[in-house]
Structure formats: C-alpha cells, structure tokens
C-alpha cells in the first residue's frame, strides 16, 4: 500500500504540466507566421491523457502523497475527470472559433492547460497552502485568458476587473488560512479537522472559516460576491467563458465541500444558515437580474449566479447526501453550460457581432442543428425532466429537503420557475421566423467545424445521459462523498484502514 509512488498521486497534473510545457516549447521554436492551430490538438491530446490518468488513479488505494499534501480518492478523481472533461471541450471549441490569424495562440492553449493544472490540484490538495497555490495557478491563467481579445475594449476591462477583484478574494482566503493556522498550528486539512473542535481560541477558527468562505464564494460567483461575473463573461471570448463559468467553479466548489464537510464539520450548524442565505440571495439576485438582460452572455452570467445558488442549496443536506448532490449538480451544470456557451460562441462568432437575444432570432431556421441544441441546453437549464439540469436540481433540493430545509427548496424551485422566463425567451426567439435578414446576413457563415461539432455532441450527450441514466455518475459522486466523509489516516504509511473506492 505504502509503495504507491508519490508521483502517481498527481499523475493528471503532471501530464497536464508536461503538455503545457511542450506547447510552450513548440510555440517558441516554430517560426513566427506559421499557423499554430495544431497546438490546440496537442493540448486536447494531453488533456485526454490526463482524463485517462485520472481514471487510472481509481486503481490506486485511497491515500495521500507528498507529505500529506495531495490526496487521491473517489472524490478527487470525480472532480479531476470533470474538470479535464470541461477543459477538453473548451479546447475543442477554441480550435474552431479562434481566428486563424489570432495572436499568441500557443500561449492561449498553454494557459488553458496550466489553468487546468491549478484547478485539478485544488480538488486534490489536502493542505491549505497547496490549495492556495493551486488556486493562484488557476486564477492567474484565467485572468490572462479573460483579456485575450486585447484589440477590443471590453476584454481587457474584463481581465482587469477579474484580476483586481479576484486577487482581493484570494487575499481573504489567505487571511482565513493564516487565522486557522494560528488557531490550530497546522495547515494540513485532516490535522485541522482533528484539532479544530478542541482548539483554545475558538473565535480564530470562526474568523478563519468565515474569511475562507468569502474567498471561495467569490470564486463560485455566489451573491453577494458576484458583481464581477457579468462584466467578465461579457468581455471574455466565448470559449473561455465556457471554461471560466464551469471548471474553476467546479474546483472551488470541491474546496468548499472540503471546508464545510471535512475541515469544519463541527461548525455545520453555523454554516447552514449562512449558506442558506447565500443560496437564496444568489438564486434571486441572479434570476431577477437575468430577466432584464439583452445580451445573451450577460444573461447567462446571471444565470450562472443563480445556478450557484441552486447548488448551494445542496449544502443544507447533511453528510454524504449533500456532498453527492453538490458534486452531481456541478457535473450537470457544467455539461449544459459548456454546451450553451459552445452554441453561443459559434453563433455570435469570435468578434461577437451578434451578442443580443434578438440576434438569435430564427436560429432554428438558419441552422437547425445549432438551434435545436440551443433549445435543448436551455430546456436543461430550465430544469425540465429527462435532462441533466433537472436531475441536478432534483438531487440538490432532495438533499435540502432531507436536511430539513423545505423552504429553501420551495424558494429554489419558485426561482427556477422565474428563471424559465428568460431561458424560454431565448428559446422562443430561436424558434421564431428570422426577421432582419440584412443584419443576420453579416454572419451568414454559421460553419460548424469538426472540433466544434465534437464539443457540442460531447456536451449534449453528457446532458442527456445525466438526465436519462444518471445512475453511474450519481454512484461516482456518492463514492466521492463517502471518501470525503471518511478521510484516510493522516499518515500516508497507514491508509489501510480504508478500502479502495469501490468501482
């Protein structure tokens, strides 16, 4: 058991890092002026290998490596596969939507892959400082990616906003870690969990936990820490938003699950009302603001705030049911949200000549495939049964009701009724007859390339499977929840107490 080499514990991260480094090297050695699109394929292949590596990790016994700083368990593997899957789709999407002549394509692909390293490491780390470093790796990559379209005004604005507010939030997280360290004398998660209930200075623990919460809630764009979201989403290139609105959130939610259920389970009674309020605020603020948006990307930005709220409802559930529901919701949300941004990036185009809801009028006529996929993803976001979005909400609110928060479930579902209004508005516009031929002929070219088609199919199939046969994914989420609830012994030489995750 203790013969597992440390390197295997971070195999996906290693693969991704190597991929990123290789891309940078090739990019530097290619003569300027040569098309660099093929670097995107290198990144996609590297990410696929990383997914494979994460799945392979299932054969490892659950345990930690590198002096108890990183862990592999069903929980980390679930999130690794999810994040790498999102990154893969975002890469495929970028391959066809980035213009051939766009600048610094090598860096673009490398940054996506490096971002993925950070996000993966966030979910695997069981040491708060490693969590922090991983968060920084992921954040800095995404700050740069947000500003990728630097010839427009909005994109650098998005990057600067994201960077300033993001750094501030990270500082909160760091301060929280410092206070926790002060109270317990350690930053190792299991150690904190062991010492926290008996710590001398309870108020330090509370303050530390609260500050960490602020930092993480910012990253998942939950209200009232959500103000950056619409501007950043609007300014960033759509494939980047597909990534940004899902993968870093998945990683941040994984950290939040650790904080709430693993580090401070003793504080659960204190968390619950706090997260209750944040959940209700996020849903309500997100949905009400989304109702009034004319820009599709801003609307989806507010919708993602609302979805963070639905997800937080799962935290009202006790123990494994809450963790499993939250994990499943992230997967469902990711598949449909990536899908919808994939459609948006094809329809609006890289230059975003058609950013408004009204510009989508008649999409079903101009491109039946894109139109019907858009409607499908919207139906899933509304939460109609037999789609991933429904089962995500279903599990989340089942966990909430199971945890006694019936009112939270009622507010949440009424909110999803409210949300149906703006999703439906876009869906109905799509199904209407095209009106303004002139404006739309500007982008008559709705070419769906091979890579984008693959990305769309990937997202659509995932959304459908999560809606019709969610059994396997739910099972994986449940396994993950169990490993989070029953962490291994802190000493990596004696993890034998826990059987390997059943798969």
């Amino acid at each position: 058991m203790n013969s597992v080499p440390d390197i295997f514990r971070i195999l996906p991260e290693v693969v991704l890092t190597l991929t990123g480094a290789i891309i940078m090297l090739i990019d530097a050695s290619l003569p300027p002026g040569l098309p660099r699109r093929s670097l995107g394929w290198v990144a996609a292949i590297g990410t696929t290998i990383a997914i494979w590596a994460s799945v392979w990790q299932l054969s490892l016994p659950q345990g930690t490596g590198f002096y108890n700083t990183v862990e592999t368990s069903a929980f980390t593997i679930f999130f690794h596969v999810l994040i790498c899957g999102i990154v893969l789709v975002a890469l495929l999407l970028s391959l066809d939507t980035l213009p051939e002549d766009s600048h610094h394509q090598g860096e673009y692909y490398a940054l996506i892959v490096f971002g993925a390293v950070g996000m993966c490491l966030m979910t695997g780390a069981v040491e708060l400082l490693v969590v922090f470093i991983a968060l920084e790796i992921s954040s800095i990559s995404t700050y740069v990616l947000a500003g990728y379209r630097k010839n427009t005004a909005r994109s650098p604005e998005a990057a600067i906003k994201y960077f300033l507010l993001g750094s501030f939030a990270t500082a909160f997280l760091l301060y929280g870690i410092a206070l926790t360290f002060g109270a317990t004398g350690t930053t190792q998660i299991y150690e904190i969990a062991r010492f926290a209930p008996t710590a001398q200075n309870h108020s330090f623990i509370l303050a530390g936990a609260a500050l960490m919460l602020v930092g993480i809630l910012f990253k998942v764009s939950a209200a009232p820490f959500h103000v950056w979201t619409p501007d950043v989403y609007e300014g960033s290139p759509s494939p980047v938003v597909a990534l940004l609105s899902t993968a870093p959130k998945a990683a941040a939610f994984a950290v939040l699950l650790r904080v709430v259920y693993e580090i401070f389970p003793s504080l659960h009674t204190l968390w619950t009302p706090l997260l209750w309020v944040v959940a209700v605020l996020s849903m309500t603020v997100g949905n009400l603001a989304a109702l009034r948006q004319e820009s599709v990307k801003r609307m989806l930005a507010y919708s993602s705030i609302a979805h963070a709220g639905y997800l937080l409802a799962a935290f009202a559930g006790a123990g494994t049911s809450g963790i499993a529901a939250a994990s499943f919701y992230i997967a469902a949300y990711a598949s449909m949200n990536v899908g919808i941004f994939a459609v948006v990036s094809v329809v609006s185009g890289y230059e975003e000549k058609l950013p408004l809801v009204q510009d989508f009028r008649g999409l079903l006529y101009r491109s039946p495939l894109l139109g019907s996929l858009l409607i499908f993803f919207l139906v899933s976001l509304v939460g109609i049964p037999f789609t991933g979005g429904f089962f995500g909400k279903f599990y989340s609110f089942t966990a909430a009701v199971g945890g006694g928060a019936v009112w939270l479930a009622i507010i949440g579902l009424l909110n999803s009724g409210l949300a149906a209004a703006y999703y439906l508005r876009l869906a109905l516009v799509t199904a209407q007859r095209p009106l303004d031929e002139e404006r739309q002929s500007q982008i008559a070219n709705l070419h769906v390339g091979l890579a984008v088609a693959a990305a769309l199919m990937f997202a659509a199939v995932a959304t459908l499977v999560l809606g019709i046969a969610p059994g396997d994914v739910l099972h994986a989420a449940d396994n993950g929840a169990h490993t989070l609830q029953a962490p291994p012994q802190p000493d990596s030489s004696a993890p034998t107490a826990d059987p390997p995750p059943a798969q």
């Binding site: 049911s321 499993a324 079903l364 109609i384 279903f394 609110f397 009622i410 009424l414 508005r425 109905l428």
Partner: protein, 514 residues
C-alpha cells in the same frame, strides 16, 4: 399475461418517440414527415385499443403493469429510488385511448395547415404524445412528474412557432402559468419521499392512509398538488393562460392543451393520495367550479373571436367536470371521467372545424362570417352536430356526463349549487346556438362571398364523421364505457375509513348504466 401485455405500455411510450426521431431524420420532401407522423399515430392508436380489449374487468386494479426490478435511478440513502413503473386502471384506461384517438386526428388536421418546418412540427407533436401517454400510465411519482413537465416543452415551442398572431407571448404565458405551480408540486413530492422513502403511488397511498405522515404538513403537500393541477385544468380563477393558448396554438395541440392532464391528475394524485385533505377543500372547489361554469358561459357569450369563445366554453365545461370530481360521489366522479372523454372528443371536433374555417377565410372574427350554410352545407351539418353535442342534447354524449354530474350534485352536495350550474349549461346552449346563427345563417357576408366556396373534402370528412358517430354512440351506449370507469373511480380499499366520504355509493342512474 402474454408478452404483449407486459410491453404494451412501454411500446405506447416508445413508438411516438421513435416516430419523432424518424421524422427528424428524413428529408422534408413530398409530405414525408406528415406520412410518418400519421402512420406512427395510427400505430399508437392501435396499440392503445389493445388496452380496453384486454383489460380484465373482474380483476380490476392496475393492469399491464411494468416495473423494473432495480430502481431506474437509485438515489442512495435509505430511499427506494425512482422506478420505471407503469400501469393502467379503469381511470386512465380510456384517457389513454382518447389520447391515441386524438393523435391521428391532429395529424390530419395539420396536414395542410402546417406548410413550413413540418419536421419540427411533427417531431415535437409526437414527443408531446409520448409525454401525455407517460402522464396517464406512470405509477411512480417522479416518473409522472417527469412526463408532466416534459409535456410543456413541445407545446410551448409549437405555440411560439406556429402562433397565429403573437405566438411567443402566448407560449410564454402558457409555460410560466403551468411551470411555476409545478415547483411546489415537486417540493411536495420530494417531501413525501423524505417521509415515506418511496415514489411508488400505491405504497404512498397506503402510507398516507394509515396515518404515518404528520397531518399538518400533509395538508400543505396536498394543497401544492391541487394548485399545480388546478392551473393546468384550469380552474377559475387560474385560467389566465387559456384563451391566449386556444387562439394561438395550432389546432392539433389546442385540442389537448386543457383538461384531461390536469383533471386526471386531480382524480389520481389529489383525491387518490389525499382523500381527507381533498374532502376538506371540496366545498371551495365546488364553489369555484360553479363560478367557473357561469363565468365561462357569460364570457363565451360576449366573445367576438371564435377561438376565445371556444376557450371560455371549455372553461365552463371543465369546471363542470371539477364539480363532478369534488362532489365526492361515485356517480359524479364517474360522470366526470366520462365528461373528460366527451370534452376531448367534442372539443377536438370543434377545433378541427374552426381550424378549417380559419384556413379558408383567415380570420377568427365571428362578425365577419355569415350565411355559410348555403355555401358549405357539409361543414354546417357537422358543425351543428358537434355544437348540439356540446350543448348536451340528449342522445349525444355530453348529455350523459352532464346529467350524471348534475344529478349527483343535486342529490349529494347542494341543490342551490346545482341550480346555478344548470343555469350555466343553459347559457352554454345560448352561446353555441348564437354562434351557429352568426356563422352559418343570415345574409352572406362580404368575406364569405369574396372567397370561393370550398366545402369539406374527403380527407377532412374522414376525420369528422367518425367523431360525430362516436358522439352518438357515446350518447346512446354509455354502458360500453361505464363499467371500467366506475371501477377506476371507486375509493381505494386502503381508504376504507374514508368510505363515509363518498356519499350515495350507487344511484339508480348508475345502475341503469351498468
């Protein structure tokens, strides 16, 4: 049980879905989507007819049951998970057949009316069929909820795409009106699951009946169920979406948009699961139903647009059914179920007829018509037959149901409410006869003379005559239907302590029908 009996309900769900997939894949040429949709819907109708032919009346209860051994989706924890669990009993049996019958009629009614995007139209139409069958045959609450919600999507998209004037607005209204109330419904289902650890209808019925769930919150759960269903029916004053949807929806969808899904759900899941709570609310529902009857009839009298007239006429007829359901008498419930079938048949025929008029003259304004009878004699004949059925002329089907509902209300509920409801029925005769007079008689209007006389042709007649014959058969031989229906609405044995809720278990009228 033969294999066909085991798989018939699954086939009913899968055949329209497979048809929808096929429609989506074939090229839109030579009316290919129309033909596929027609064949699919005829096959489903044939499959649906298998049910009454092989339903064992002596055995009763749920038959043709399919239940997977393992949960379809297991939810972890102590709960049972979601099962793929289907079955029909006397209550749902004829509703399934009605859904099957209206499908080919809808396809033929859309044959020439839908000129563009036929693939989208027929594919979504068939998905809608699956959703409606699913609602009627699901015995797992989550599965039922899934189909219930699914039925909204194709409907909303089709209203938006094929609306006559302002489709998107009507679609949005329809969707939000029916989607938002289903949020409390879902919470109530989840809450029941948290208490009972099962989504199985029969098990839950037993657990609720033996009082293992706290009564206080149960009341709220029952109310959440009722509210969602009442909007879908619709019950006065929740009918805001009805008129817009009636005037915008394509004919084939408008004929299924209101009524049967909500009314069936009331009988099965509101009264079926919460008889005691339903009984408490019954007086209010009876009052709302009577108001709905009168209000619908009065508004129908003053409409200038025939779609809206039909919408308010429907509000009145549906309210009468609600009156029958919440009268808590066996006769009334059976009459109500029969009225659901009648409403489906008559409303279907009416929609088809008005749809043909609209196709020919491109307006739904009653005032522009006049003197059509001389030019379109066949249309006039069928229109009059359908209208007379709707009014409740003896020998035609509506009479039977209305009579049972009103007589049971008179005997078992309250005389004054019955008088008020009967007044609504009389008003119903007034607005329908006036409608006939304005459209078909009098002097020929400018609109009528400006267009060539184009009477119903063969493909339209083969839809309408069978419906007219059906109205007559259902009017003179209700005993073909009643034994099954009566078995369906009988109180469940587990609710035996509530048997006092059902007054006059059998009346002479019912004996005569058996």
């Amino acid at each position: 049980m033969s294999t066909i009996d085991n798989s018939i309900l699954t086939l009913l769900l899968l055949v329209p879905l497979a048809g929808a997939l096929l429609v989506a894949l074939v090229p839109d040429r030579a009316k290919l989507p129309n033909w596929i949709a027609l064949i699919t819907s005829l096959v489903t109708f044939g499959l649906a007819l298998h049910l009454p032919a092989h339903y064992d009346l002596g055995q009763g209860g749920f038959q043709f049951v399919v239940k997977t051994l393992q949960p379809w989706i297991s939810l972890g924890g102590t709960g049972d998970g979601i099962y793929y669990h289907l079955g029909v009993d006397g209550l749902s049996l004829w509703l399934v057949v009605l859904t099957g019958l209206l499908a080919p009629i809808g396809v033929i009614a859309s044959w020439n009316a839908i000129k563009e995007r036929r693939k989208v139209y027929f594919a979504l139409f068939l998905v809608q069929q699956t959703a409606m069958f699913g609602v009627f045959v699901s015995l797992d609450l989550m599965l039922y909820y899934g189909f219930w919600e699914l039925s909204l999507v194709p409907m909303a998209i089709l209203i938006a795409m094929y609306g006559r004037k302002d489709g998107p607005k009507a679609a949005m209204k329809f969707f939000l009106f029916t989607f938002i109330p289903s949020a409390p419904l879902l919470v109530a289902i989840l809450w029941l699951y948290a208490k009972t650890n099962t989504f199985d209808f029969s098990t839950m019925q037993v657990l609720i009946a033996n009082g293992s769930i706290p009564a206080g919150p149960l009341c709220w759960a029952a109310f959440a169920f009722l509210f969602a269903f009442a909007v879908k029916v619709p019950v006065f004053p929740l009918h805001g979406w009805l008129a817009d949807s009636y005037s915008e929806a394509p004919v084939a969808l408008a004929m299924v948009i209101a009524g049967k899904l909500g009314l069936y759900s009331m009988l099965r899941f509101h009264i079926g699961l919460f008889p005691a709570q339903a009984k408490e609310l019954a007086p209010y529902l009876i009052a709302l139903a009577v108001i709905g009857i009168l209000y619908g009839a009065c508004l129908a009298l003053v409409q200038k647009d025939f779609w809206r007239l039909l919408a308010f006429a429907s509000l009145g007829h549906l309210s009468l059914i609600v009156l029958g359901i919440y009268g808590f008498t066996l006769t009334g419930s059976a009459g109500a179920v029969y009225q659901i079938l009648n409403h489906g048949v008559i409303d279907g025929a009416m929609f088809v007829l008005l749809g043909y008029l609209y196709d020919r003259y491109s307006t739904s304004e009653i005032g522009l018509y006049g003197g059509l009878a001389a030019r379109l004699p066949r249309t006039a004949t069928l229109f009059v037959i359908t209208s007379l059925a709707m009014i409740g002329l003896p020998m035609l089907n509506n009479f039977v149901g209305e009579f049972l509902v009103l007589s049971s209300t008179f005997a078992g509920v309250s005389r004054s409410w019955t008088v008020a409801a009967a007044l609504g029925v009389i008003l119903g005769a007034a607005y329908m006869l006036w409608l006939i007079q304005r459209i078909f008689y009098g002097t020929e209007s400018a609109l009528v003379t400006s267009k060539p006389a184009n009477d119903l042709h063969f493909s339209e007649l083969i839809v309408l005559w069978p419906l007219a014959v059906l109205m007559l058969v259902m009017g003179v031989a209700p005993s073909l239907w009643f034994p099954t229906i009566e078995q369906g609405v009988r109180p469940h044995p587990h609710h035996v302590q509530f048997s006092d809720l059902v007054k006059t278990p059998s009346t002479p009228e019912m004996e005569g029908l058996r």
